[in-house]
């Protein structure tokens, strides 16, 4: 397996470092060749500086095409949603969660909230936050609403999605999110509570429903996501 492809963040960082390096090799050879104060040398430095800085931006290659993926899901208000189709034209910040999760998924959700709070009103335009449950048997629209409400989340541009189990399973397979049954707890009343071993992920999807970047949901850097959103918008 190609580990760089598996880890786009690492790949982008590598490119981000490599591109300015190449710029500077060229710059150095130019300076050495040029010897002394050439009138255009200041312009050159400015130019190279510009290239170096901008090379860090727009490094959001298309990772996967989500435009052909479409499933009928239901949102936290019990409305039917065509996912991803209904969100075409929005820059999507998607997180994958299950609400019985007490540690990782709240961190992922909180990171999405921090992104939402960091974006200015202007930057927020056309941005849609979506949390998708991979535990639909537990995560009914009502449960998802409670999960959001207890955290005082701003749902004005944030939707929680769930659906039938086969549909959700198929969707997760398509987007590459893995959720395997792990440990469980049996309550005194005999109810079994399942905990999933799952992909810890926030995804950034552009307005044409192209996946542009995956982040490790619980450890995601807020500013990195904000910068990436702004680079796409």
């Amino acid at each position: 397996m190609n580990s760089l492809k598996e880890n786009p963040n690492q790949y982008n960082l590598l490119r981000c470092i490599a591109t300015p390096l190449i710029d500077y090799c060229q710059f150095l050879s130019f300076i050495i060749g040029m010897k002394q104060s050439h009138p255009s040398s200041k312009m050159l430095i400015l130019f190279v500086l510009l290239i170096g800085f901008t090379s860090c931006k727009n490094k959001l290659p298309i990772e996967q095409d989500f435009s052909k993926i479409n499933y009928q899901l239901v949102d936290n208000d019990n409305r039917t949603v065509n996912f991803f189709k209904d969100f075409k034209g929005k820059t999507i910040v998607a997180g994958y969660i299950f609400t019985n999760c007490p540690d990782i998924c709240p961190l992922t959700t909180n990171n999405m909230r921090l992104v939402q709070e960091t974006l200015t009103e202007d930057e927020m335009k056309d941005v849609q936050f979506i949390s998708i449950s991979f535990d639909p048997e537990v995560d009914t629209p009502e449960t998802l609403t409670k999960f959001a409400e207890i955290r005082n989340l701003d749902l004005s541009n944030w939707t929680f999605l769930t659906g039938s189990k086969p549909v959700i399973d198929s969707l997760m397979k398509d987007v590459g999110v893995v959720a395997i049954l792990g440990d469980s707890t049996i309550t005194p009343s005999g109810e079994k509570i399942n905990y999933f071993v799952h992909t810890d992920r926030i995804s950034l999807i552009d307005k044409n429903l192209q996946l542009r970047k995956n982040y490790i949901g619980s450890k995601a850097e807020i500013q990195e996501i904000v910068n990436d959103i702004n680079a796409l918008n």
């Binding site: 430095i45 170096g52 609400t99 007490p102 309550t187 799952h198 992909t199 990195e224």
Partner: protein
Amino acid sequence: MKTRAAIVLVTLLTLIFFSCNSKTDMPETNETADQTFEQGNIKITDTWIRPGAAGMNTAFFFNVTNSSDMPDTLVSAESGIAEIVEIHETYEKGDDMMGMRSVEEVVIPANSTFEFKPMHHHVMLIKVINDLKIDDEATVNLKFKNTGDIKITAKVIDMKTMKH
């Protein structure tokens, strides 16, 4: 002239490198209640609970300082705020996968502090009885093998304040 070019080069390279690596390392400081719960050689500090809706799960976090020359062991926890209380750990499974499992007990080594913190260990509150909203307070009883019971209170903290 070559030296100057080299200085400019190094400076610019450094600048670019940091601009590419603009990840700000946000410390996980939190505004936990400034309460300390002490019994024998065990001290509990930095207690806090994540918000959780009635019928759902959440987690309790804290630090344990063992000032004894002997290790002690957290064997269980009890609380009236949830149907079931367990000691859990979060673990990495590779390929960006995360999981959580219950653990029998947690040994607190001699003369050390053990942190029950996000992405590591927590006391799992399963099916909380009532909504645990921000600023609510709850009581949890921690049972140690040597020290015995330590009753603590913890505040429900908004995670918003976790990262600044």
